[in-house]
Symmetry: C2
Subunit: 124 residues, 2 copies
């Protein structure tokens, strides 16, 4: 059930994310969309971020602090600055896994790799 209907708010959230290359929090998306659509509510932004993620149209990036969102769903990785908490894209070519982007000028001190799926119990 729960047929999806069209919504200008959802369009605006998606369009905002697709037009930017930082990795905004829900609050930041809200502030940005609000400029074009002053009546939009923060709850609507949260709702649509969740919905768009479940539709596979955007990515949610879980970090130590607030969640961040990415409108570009092609396969790439991320870098979080431990100091300012900014998130940057790391485009790493499959054929040369360990080469960082030429324009990356930070220092990498660690990484975390998490796999997702279903455990043996929940698989059934």
């Amino acid at each position: 059930m729960a047929t999806l209907r069209h919504s200008n708010q959802r369009d605006a959230v998606l369009k905002d994310l697709q037009a930017r290359y930082d990795h905004p929090t829900a609050e930041e998306v809200y502030l940005s969309v609000k400029k074009e659509m002053p009546s939009i509510s923060l709850a609507t932004v949260y709702r649509n971020l969740k919905l768009l993620e479940s539709e596979g149209l955007i990515l949610k990036i879980t970090t130590g602090d607030s969640d961040r969102f990415d409108g570009h769903t092609h396969s790439h990785y991320h870098f979080t600055c431990n100091d300012c908490m900014k998130v940057l894209d790391l485009e790493i070519a499959d054929t040369d896994f360990c080469t960082l982007p030429r324009d990356f000028d930070g220092v990498i001190t660690g990484h975390s790799l998490m796999f997702f799926g279903l455990c043996s119990k929940c698989k059934k």
Copy 2:
């Protein structure tokens, strides 16, 4: 400054984490340590988890829901079940990166790789 002093509560938290192979939340560590030390406070558990992590004695695992902790700091990766949110260890040998542990009986449907460090601005 802030010289570290000995504390039985901190010892108990570390010992609890080192003795188990699940990946408990702060609340779960609290409940477990409380059995041996009924007077310990949840705030003390949070404080010591943070302190032990900054000392490099335990790992904090950031997931979609509550943070989880790991008393075993050797290099290994993790798996989160999307259904029950349990976290399992994935010991992946450096020499055979893509082979999963023989006893892993779940399904992997995705992964996320995050790098940490300092961005060009914060490096200075």
